[in-house]
Amino acid sequence: MKTTSDEIPARAAETGPALEIRANGETRSVPPGTSVAGFLARHDLDPDLVVVERNGRILRRQDFDGTTLEPGDELEIVHFVGGG
């Protein structure tokens, strides 16, 4: 499931058709080769302030860069908000 940026030349991959994933319950289109870190950056999210679950498994922060999104991936991206 995990690919490193070495294995996929990001520039070449990004020329392909967009792929669809689900993030926080909504369908999103992303360029092929997009990493979790790249997805967060596209949405202006600080990777140190969110927790990401991919297909039911929590991703470690150090794996955000090396995890490439695949069609049909389910992401949950959460953070802390006010609560009692």
Partner: protein
């Protein structure tokens, strides 16, 4: 003062735990935290809004070196949901503490104690320091302790109600039933509620709405700090016996003209 609250492997100088919900602004929340002297503060775990322009993180207002940030599982109705949210909260990397909530009824926000017990067992097994929000039932409190809870947190009255302690006897029974700390969670409305609760001998109080929805939240936070301290000190001092009739405070002998 060496009167400290120990939860799991951590020790705290304040017996007041506050929430971060319902404040008009994060600035007021941060000021209330400061005034409260609390060293533990609860937060909720929620989806980020992917379409919002850059949101300011709550964590910008909280210093994890000064306060323990305690993620809750508020809004979960099953053990499975609560376990998932607890794991997400821990993955933020701040601590292994969780305020475990598994709600069973939307109207009263009473806990579903069967689901709560199952989630406590699983999470304690995974190394979490589990602080379960529970009903004021000594039997379930003991079961939670046996399942590995680091404290039990019975409600005083429904969450956000401000009714104070409805059943002090239930809280007393829980204190007798368990050896882990007892923290009253939910229902405190004002400073006298907090003092009266601490006078029962509980180890701490968790509150949110009483401060956040006070006319002046920062001033109420300070009042709560003082009330929790005062109630604790009164408990430690030991109150006098109650009696039905008056006894004079001044000597009866040696009255002028007597």
């Amino acid at each position: 003062m060496n009167d400290r609250l120990t939860l799991g492997e951590r020790t705290f100088g304040s017996r007041l735990i506050i929430g971060t919900g319902k404040y008009d602004s994060p600035r007021t929340m941060a000021a209330a935290l400061e005034a409260s002297g609390a060293e533990i503060i609860t937060v909720a775990v929620r989806r980020v809004d992917l379409d919002a322009s850059k949101e300011e993180s709550l964590l910008h207002w909280l210093d994890p070196d000064r306060v323990l940030i305690l993620p809750n599982t508020a809004g979960c109705y099953t053990a499975e949901e609560a376990i998932r949210v607890a794991r997400l909260g821990r993955a933020a990397g701040l601590s292994d503490f969780v305020k475990l909530e598994v709600i069973g009824d939307e109207k009263t926000l009473y806990p579903d104690v069967l689901e709560l017990l199952a989630a406590t067992e699983t999470l304690a097994g995974e190394g979490f320091t589990v602080l379960p929000y529970t009903s004021d039932d000594p039997v379930i409190a003991k079961r939670l302790e046996d399942a590995g809870a680091a404290a039990v947190m019975p409600l005083a009255s429904p969450i956000g109600s401000g009714l104070g302690i409805v059943d002090p006897l239930g809280i007393r029974f829980i204190m007798e039933a368990v050896t882990v700390p007892v923290i009253v969670d939910a229902g405190v409305g004002t400073a006298s509620d907090a003092a009266a609760t601490m006078e029962l001998g509980v180890d701490g109080i968790l509150m949110n709405t009483a401060i956040a929805k006070a006319g002046d939240p920062v001033r109420m936070a300070e009042a709560m700090r003082l009330a929790v301290q005062a109630g604790r000190m009164a408990f430690e001092a030991g109150r006098m016996e109650k009696r039905a009739y008056a006894t004079p405070s001044s000597p009866v002998a040696g009255r002028v003209g007597g």
